[in-house]
């Protein structure tokens, strides 16, 4: 475990110094929120301010996706540009560099989430969350970021180039739009409603929306927890499998 702290520090330095990562993790969700509120908000909710209440949890969800996607690129860079070769000749656990990227992603996403909520409040958003609700939101965001980052880490391990890692991950970023994140599921075509209702992002965003509104998330929190645990395990198993396949270790 001694190796995790230096690797996390390294990944945080990457995130802070890489302008593209900063833009993708922090600026892009804010721009997305402004666009949804002021371009689509009137059409979707009658007026922009009304849509702000609905869309903030969705932007937090998407924000986690953008932030986690950069993990695939960071891991792929380590795998394909030589650093992993050096680490493999050292007494360093093979998962430690990747865990550093994952923990850095969690920190980066929590900061990005705070920025999104702060900007939303400047626009007039007034969350009804109490102290326990904020803690619940923190737990929900952390669980979701861990889950989706694990998947992107696996993509980063498997990708044969940095560009490929970026491309594979992009597909996942469309999933929030087919959930309860941006519009009520009831407004979707019937054939899409089943998918939207049962895909993992719906309980995640419902839970976040409930916490931000100061309400009980009900069964969504439990469903979200199961989904996040399953996705995290799947992502880590996938990363381990891809790692063993690409770099068998003695």
């Amino acid at each position: 475990m001694n190796a995790v702290l230096p690797f996390t520090r390294r990944a945080v330095l990457h995130a802070v110094r890489d302008v593209e990562t900063l833009i993708e993790s922090v600026l892009l969700p804010v721009v997305l929120m402004l666009m949804f509120v002021y371009v689509f908000g009137g059409a979707l909710a009658g007026r922009s301010e009304a849509y702000l209440d609905f869309v903030v949890p969705a932007v937090v969800l998407v924000c986690a996706g953008f932030g986690a996607a950069t993990t695939a690129v960071s891991v792929a860079r380590d795998m394909n540009e030589g650093m992993m070769d050096r680490f493999r000749t050292m007494d360093v656990p093979r998962w430690a560099p990747m865990l550093g990227h994952v923990l850095s992603s969690v920190l980066r996403n929590l900061v990005a989430t705070a920025v999104v909520i702060a900007v939303a409040m400047l626009l007039g958003y007034r969350p009804g969350a109490g102290p326990l609700d904020w803690l619940g939101l923190l737990a929900a965001v952390t669980m979701w970021v861990l889950a989706i980052t694990s998947v992107f880490a696996a993509i980063g391990v498997a990708a044969r180039s940095v560009e490929a890692a970026s491309g594979y991950g992009f597909a996942l970023l469309f999933l929030p739009y087919a959930s309860s994140a941006f519009v009520p599921i009831e407004t979707m075509p019937t054939w899409l409603q089943g998918f939207a209702r049962h895909q993992p992002m719906t309980p995640v965003v419902d839970t976040m929306r409930a916490f931000l509104g100061g309400e009980s998330p009900g069964s969504s929190a439990g469903v979200m927890t199961v989904w996040c645990a399953a996705i995290t395990l799947l992502g880590l198993a996938g990363a381990g499998w891809a790692f063993a396949r690409r770099q068998p270790r003695i």
Binding site: A3, R9, D18, G82, T89, V92, R249
Partner: protein, 296 residues
């Protein structure tokens, strides 16, 4: 001196291609051994197996007293390796790279910082230490790469073509550092394509050709094996265009000239030079697939 590296019957294939064909050698503590060979000879594969990165197909390898196949972690604790390609983190500064490596090698953060400064100075990178590596030239990156492998003491040091991309001055400085490592007791295995490097640096040279070690000995022994002198045909610029080994006697020199003439290398106005055998001559003879030298 005890052997820090023992390799016996090492074999490795990639698909149908046999890369290592039962090689066998050892490296004593406190000595420098050069693994000399052309591209594709199997040098890097050998190093990757010895550093636990790639599993072998057959054979036994012990590094620092531990079997690489069954005690990889023990081996990794005792080695330091620099690969053929520069492995530095371009987003971090030179100092941060060294500090990271120091912490991963078990130094405290404070000790890692002190060690980083020492290595930056010794590598001629003091002024660039606080700059991001992405601003470094190729030679600076290579020097940092080598410094990273020297952050903490190691029983065995592996260097895969370490002077590629370095200028003459930096190359000499690196050789000096490598000699210091050996004097401190480390066993050093260095791969190289540069005969000059093997001659200047190594206590012993292993010539690897098509996955087999075709010669082994000190540079002087290998040169002696070629005979006392080389008869060379040189062009107008003094560059050698063909050569033959000889035992240095008058009869031997005549024979060498006859062999050159027989294959049409001599013209009426050809310029002939005679010089003591170099490692270059040894290498060319040993790795010439039409040559007479049999694999060891």
């Amino acid at each position: 001196m005890a052997d820090a590296i023992v390799v016996e019957g090492l074999e490795k294939s990639f698909g149908d291609q046999r890369v290592l064909d039962g090689i066998r050698f050892s490296v004593a503590r406190g000595s420098i051994v050069a693994l000399l060979g052309e591209n594709g000879a199997g040098k890097t594969t050998t190093l990757r197996i010895l550093t636990t990165v790639t599993p072998a197909d057959a054979g036994r390898v012990a590094v620092a007293g531990h079997d690489v196949a069954s005690a990889g972690r023990e081996v990794r604790r005792r080695i330091s390796a620099t690969g053929q390609n520069v492995s530095v983190d371009a987003t971090l500064t030179g100092a941060e790279n060294l500090e990271l490596m120091g912490e991963l090698r078990g130094l405290s953060r404070r000790d890692a910082r002190v060690r980083a400064q020492e290595l930056l100075e010794r590598s001629g990178l003091s002024d660039a230490g606080r700059k991001r590596v992405r601003t470094y030239s190729g030679g600076m990156r290579r020097r940092l790469d080598l410094a990273l492998s020297m952050v903490a003491p190691a029983d065995v040091v592996f260097l895969d073509e370490p002077t590629t991309g370095l200028d003459t001055r930096a190359r000499s400085a690196l050789w000096e550092r490598v000699r210091e490592l050996a004097e401190a007791g480390a066993a050093v295995l260095v791969t190289t394509q540069y005969l000059e490097e093997a001659d200047a640096l190594a206590d012993r040279v292993l010539v690897l050709h098509r996955g087999r070690i075709v010669a082994e000995g000190t540079p002087a022994e290998l040169k002696a094996r070629m005979g006392g002198a080389t008869v060379a045909v040189v062009d107008g610029d003094g560059a050698e265009v063909d050569s033959e080994g000889s035992d240095g006697t008058a009869a031997g020199l005549r024979d060498a000239l006859a062999r050159l003439e027989a294959r049409g290398a001599l013209g009426a106005d050809s310029v002939i030079a005679v010089h003591a055998a170099t490692l270059d001559d040894v290498f060319r003879r040993l790795t010439d697939d039409d040559g007479d030298e049999a694999p060891r």
